[in-house]
């Protein structure tokens, strides 16, 4: 017997005496062996759960037995829930109303999932998302409280009880007209956006998951089942599972193409946008894009193909092809006649819906809020963002699809071949008996090493590419949220990781374009173009930006390539761009009549389009056909008096008149052009004169940026032609750039631009205010006394903005002038005591709660904090802090605990809680909260999660790095950490490191 056998026998022998006898026998003369076995037996006895898999997930997936169906009847108790009655049954399972006894007595909805799932995995996945789900706090989202397994080990979910009807049913039952349907739908979009911001994707949005309840007679939609589809359906990776999924979810009608693709892995927020689009389609015209009947009959693969490849008809087209009776019924439910409905849906609404239903998700709305905003524009009769899909796009769609995947695959394939070849060669050399000499052998070894290194590089490269792609996606969302600096950072990191991947260059160029930083944009677009030809509008962007950047040769190059593509593809939409770009420059070496012919064909197809007329006129001008040019341009101007871009025509017209020798007309047109640009630039500056925060308003273009650029370029050309000198530089261009750099938090660059702007516009109080504020930002964390001085100048300039008071007060505090801080707090409070503006109230309270007795009567802060709570739920943090300073410790604990639990925390909750608990005599709680505060600070500094981002958007984030350590230090001093409590001391040391090194570094520049 060897050691193992003796050990096994020994542990089978339970009785100690018997075991001793056995060991005596088995180990006979070997004292060492006996000693060793005894040690092992001892180890065995205290091994506990050592090495035991705590979560045998694989076991369950590989041999899940078919579970017996146990009828679940009312009265049954599941976990801490008692089933009351069945309230629904769907594809996924059965829903019961249930009663929860503890910790709170309430009625909940309990959804028991049909058999066939791996319960433990479902629950594990739910657990993984539980924290994120708990962060969701939105009146239009039903909360998911819990998940568990029934005795028959079927997973169940516990949710807020919503007694409502599916949104489509509600709308039809109440014959809601289209605009009311749209308003309801917009609410749903906002709810979905809220979840997306918390990083939660629904994955199964459909009418039966959007229930409408009545609240005071008002319909309130609630999105249910957040987190459920993910928990259930994450690992659907092959066809058999798809079958299950389709059965489970009931219908693939609302499923996005990428979900139907069944890579199963690659679902993001835009999948939900697609599903929302399907739902809107149905709300508008009563059917889904793919007909229910057809879907039911089709085989699974056919369904997948349809979703992935078939372009559904637009709502109005679908409506017109519906049978007359059905049409009448559908229209009646919307209180219109069929014609009226068709007219209503045709155009903008068609485009909005179809944009959400794009197969290529990069062409859908980027966010649910963006979707909602476009509907809002429709409701307000403003021009919508969605446009009919262009032929050029359809033509290019194929190449565009899965660019990253294609790129990654080719990279791997190419690299692998190289590595494999090298390996083979080196192996052959090594084996080769001829390779006697040391030299040859060393070459072989070297080759092999190279191959291995290459393989390693390759693997690293793929990982980097994926990381870059992830950053790109993240940046894209940040961009949608107008979080410019974080988006910039994300794109820049992606570029650093994989500079030969064109995506991040393009994305960063988009960002700079939106901010009006055209010089930065053209640099990035040029780099992207070196790697990969642009798609769609980026061609035109590249051409205009190159010309704007004084690179006419580059512009011309793009123009030639675009026309070549137009000839090959013959796509109309692209032809417009090609003709337009061709006319940016006086024709050099190309056939000047080619663009004319192109534009003429476009006008022939659409004679009533004023823009195309303008384009035709422009091409005539470039071809030297001035008479025709004048005719077309005048026609364009007369056709459409309210065409916003008609200003485009003025500079071209001026040049045309000049060529025709009609000098007076030329000067008049030139003056019109000057006025037009004046108004445009004014609008642009007006629209981004943000006050409260540095981001606000930047990146909003009241006109198409390229129209504006083109008009300026032509105006300059016209001035040079007619006057012989270029127009003077407009200082407002510096204003635009200054605000853009401030939005990117590149304060130094912003200050340079402000300086240039103010040199041209010396008496603009708003500009001076912004300059001082930006200087304050710049000096913050570097030189607080200087920051305080700058903020003070800004505050004197515009004393009615509480935020600047807030900054100044905090800067003084940081600079070590607590008296000035207190004085400013008191003044600010007196000045704004009656404000009803939540934002202002928040700014005031947030400054005044940082130190004890900042204001004579802290109770005043509570009422202001309640005004602030109108802004968002997170302001419980502010109320709690105010209560604490006013000595209402119990209320403070209540508010702060709620804030820390539910909402987007500001970050100071734990420090205030620690102090409040201390005052209430809760020693243990106080210690615990103090530790949490330290932990939170450490995490907040390193985390770049969705929540942190969201928090920063809400809270601004400029002063937080000063606040956290300040409040923490106050709490730690108050509580007086005892020497004995090593754990606490340890966290504290760590946190003091943070406060010294990381939390107080200057803002990124």
């Amino acid at each position: 017997m060897n050691e193992r056998d003796i050990f096994i026998e020994a542990i089978r022998t339970a009785d100690a005496t018997d075991r001793g006898i056995f060991l005596d026998q088995a180990c006979a003369n070997d004292a060492d062996l006996r000693q060793r076995v005894e040690t092992l037996v001892e180890a065995h006895e205290r091994a506990g759960s050592f090495l035991e898999p705590a979560f045998p997930a694989l076991a369950a997936t590989l041999d899940t037995p078919i579970e017996p169906l146990i009828a679940t009847v009312p009265g049954t108790v599941i976990g801490s829930y008692k089933l009351l009655e069945q309230i629904g049954e769907g594809g996924m399972g059965v829903v019961y109303m249930a009663e929860q006894a503890a910790p709170v007595r309430r009625k909940v909805a309990l959804k028991i999932i049909k058999p066939g799932m791996d319960t433990r995995e479902v629950i594990a996945r739910f657990e993984a998302e539980r924290q994120a789900l708990a962060m969701m706090d939105h009146q239009n989202i039903a909360r998911v409280f819990d998940a568990g397994a029934t005795q028959a080990s079927r997973p169940y979910f516990v949710m807020e009880l919503v007694r409502g009807v599916p949104i489509t049913d509600y709308c039809d039952q109440n014959n809601l007209p289209v605009h009311e349907r749209l308003e309801l739908f917009v609410t749903v979009c906002h709810a979905v956006q809220h979840a997306h911001q918390k990083g939660i994707i629904h994955r199964d949005i459909k009418p039966s998951n959007v229930l409408v309840t009545l609240h005071d007679g008002r319909p309130v939609p609630k999105v249910i089942d957040f987190g459920v589809a993910k928990a259930i359906g994450q690992q659907l990776t092959d066809t058999t599972l798809f079958t299950q999924f389709a059965q489970m979810v009931g219908t693939p009608l609302y499923m996005s193409p990428e979900q139907a693709e069944l890579t199963g892995l690659d679902i993001d927020t835009r999948g939900d946008i697609y599903s929302l689009g399907v739902m809107l389609y149905e709300l508008l015209i009563g059917t889904t894009p793919f007909e229910r009947g057809r879907m039911k009959q089709a085989a699974l693969d056919e369904i997948r193909r349809m979703i992935r490849e078939e372009d559904p008809p637009s709502p109005s087209t679908r409506l017109s092809s519906t049978a007359g009776e059905t049409q009448t019924a559908v229209a009646a439910h919307r209180r219109v006649d069929p014609r009226g409905l068709s007219r209503l849906v045709q155009g903008d609404l068609d485009w909005i819906v179809m944009k959400a239903l794009e197969k290529d998700r990069t062409r859908r709305y980027g966010t649910a809020n963006g979707f909602a905003a476009d509907i809002g524009r429709f409701l307000n009769d403003e021009p919508v963002e969605a446009r009919p899909p262009s032929t050029a796009y359809r033509f290019r769609k194929f190449a565009r699809r899965n660019r990253v995947a294609f790129f990654a695959t080719s990279l791997v394939a190419g690299g692998l071949v190289a590595a494999v070849v090298l390996l083979a060669v080196s192996n052959a050399l090594i084996r080769d008996e001829q390779a006697h000499t040391r030299h040859e052998r060393s070459i072989a070894v070297q080759l092999q090493r190279t191959a291995e290194e290459r393989a390693e590089q390759l693997r690293q490269g793929v990982l980097d590419l994926q990381a870059a792609h992830r950053l790109l996606e993240r940046g894209r969302i940040l961009l949608e949220e107008q979080n410019w600096d974080d988006a910039d950072a994300a794109f820049t990191r992606a570029i650093k990781l994989r500079p030969e991947y064109s995506g991040p260059w393009e994305a960063r160029a988009d960002l700079y374009i939106r901010l009006g930083l055209f010089d930065l944009a053209v640099h990035d677009l040029n780099r992207a173009y070196e790697l990969q030809e642009p798609v769609n509008w980026r061609w035109m962007a590249l051409a205009i930006l190159r010309l704007n950047g004084d690179d006419p040769r580059g512009c011309h190059e793009v123009s030639v390539r675009m026309r070549q593509q137009t000839r090959e593809a013959g796509a109309r939409e692209f032809a417009v761009d090609a003709a337009r770009v061709a006319s940016l420059l006086p024709a050099a070496d190309t056939d000047p009549l080619e663009p004319v012919a192109l534009a003429q064909s476009l006008v022939d197809a659409e004679p009533a389009n004023a823009f195309l007329r303008y384009l035709l006129g422009l091409t005539h001008y470039r071809a030297g056909q001035f008479e025709q040019a004048a005719a077309e341009l005048n026609e364009a101007l007369s056709m459409s008096p309210d065409w916003e871009a008609r200003r485009l025509a003025y500079p071209v017209l001026a040049m045309t008149w000049h060529r025709l020798g009609r000098d007076a007309d030329a000067r008049r047109a030139l003056a019109d052009a000057a006025r037009a640009i004046e108004v445009w630039t004014g609008q642009i500056c007006q629209s981004n004169n943000g006050n409260w925060a540095i981001h606000q308003g930047v990146g909003q273009w009241p006109v198409r940026w390229w129209d504006w650029l083109e008009c300026r370029l032509f105006y300059r050309e016209a001035r040079l032609l007619i006057d012989g000198s270029p127009p003077p530089e407009d200082p407002r261009l510096h204003v635009i750039r200054a605000r853009a750099f401030a939005g990117l938090r590149r304060t130094r660059m912003a200050l340079d631009e402000y300086e240039a702007a103010i040199a041209g516009l010396p008496d603009d109080p708003q500009l001076q205010f912004e300059q001082w504020r930006t200087r304050g930002y710049f000096y913050g964390y570097r030189d607080w006394p200087q920051a305080a001085r700058e903020f003070a100048k800004a505050r004197r300039q515009m004393p009615d903005q509480p935020l600047i008071w807030n900054f100044e007060a905090i800067a003084h505090l940081a600079a070590g002038n607590p008296q000035v801080y207190r004085q400013l707090c008191s003044e600010m409070l007196a000045r704004f005591a009656d404000t009803q503006d939540p934002r202002s109230a928040q700014d005031i309270v947030c400054a005044c709660v940082l130190r004890p007795q900042a204001v004579p009567d802290p109770a005043q802060l509570i009422s202001l904090a309640r005004v602030a709570s109108g802004m968002h739920h997170g302001n419980r943090s502010v109320i709690g802090a105010a209560c604490f300073r006013a000595g209402q410790y119990e209320e403070a604990v209540r508010q702060l605990e709620e804030a820390a639990r539910l909402n987007v925390p500001r970050g100071w909750e734990w420090s205030f809680l620690a102090m409040a608990h201390h005052h209430l005599g809760h020693t243990v709680e106080a210690q615990r909260c103090l530790q949490s505060a330290a932990r939170w600070m450490a995490e907040a500094d390193t985390s770049s999660s969705v929540d942190m981002r969201h928090r920063r958007l809400i809270w601004g984030g400029f002063t937080e790095r000063f606040e956290f350590p300040l409040l923490y230090a106050e709490a730690a001093t108050l509580i007086g950490v005892t020497e004995a409590d090593a754990a606490v001391r340890k966290t504290r040391n760590q946190s003091s490191d943070f406060s010294m090194t990381r939390w107080q570094r200057p803002a990124a520049d």
Partner: protein
């Protein structure tokens, strides 16, 4: 995809080189899967080692032609070894980070693979396991299957071609052996840490 199934068939036919070919394929697939999932999941989310192995199995092995537990066994043996390498490398790198190694803002892909189902210190276990493999390769193999891919005793036994009962015995022996080894190595009783 078909490669793995073919290799499994080769192994069963007794081709001694086939087993060697399997490991790199499985290793690569696991890392790729991990990276892919990381790219899609929220930052901060962790991946279950066993779930990864399962996914790799679903993706690499053609189920129609590889139903027998025998071939699964070979697969899991390779997966266990691959996952061991990934997790151990990862633990080493993390340890070196803690000791002031190069700090990168971008997380290691593998650091997100949480062996949530594992209780114990990976590096210590791995070191002890290497020693066990020298004195009792079968016991070490069983531990690898259990510890790094989360197979149940029954599955591991089937995969190794032994009875469940003897697998139970071997498992008890291996656990005691490893626990003892780890404790001897580190005089403080710190090795046996609860995983959660």
């Amino acid at each position: 995809m078909g490669d793995v199934t073919r290799i499994l068939a080769d192994i069963e036919r007794g081709d001694p080189q086939a087993a060697e070919q399997l490991l790199p394929l499985v290793y690569e697939e696991l890392r790729k899967l991990a990276a892919q999932k990381m790219a899609q999941e929220n930052p901060g989310q962790t991946l279950q080692a066993t779930a990864l192995v399962h996914d790799a199995y679903v993706r690499l092995v053609d189920h129609e032609n590889a139903q027998a537990w025998d071939s699964r066994g070979h697969f899991f043996a390779a997966a266990a070894e691959a996952m061991r390498r990934i997790l151990v490398d990862n633990a080493r790198r993390r340890a070196s980070l803690k000791n002031g190694g190069h700090l990168s803002r971008e997380p290691l892909i593998e650091s997100a693979i949480a062996a949530t189902e594992i209780t114990g210190d990976i590096l210590a276990v791995d070191e002890a396991l290497t020693k066990l493999a020298r004195s009792d390769p079968q016991a070490a193999e069983l531990v690898k299957l259990r510890f790094f891919t989360g197979l149940t005793i029954k599955q591991a036994a089937a995969s190794m071609g032994i009875s469940s009962r003897s697998a139970d015995d071997v498992w008890a022996y291996a656990r005691a052996w490893l626990l003892h080894e780890i404790e001897c190595d580190q005089p403080r009783p710190a090795a046996h840490r609860s995983g959660q």
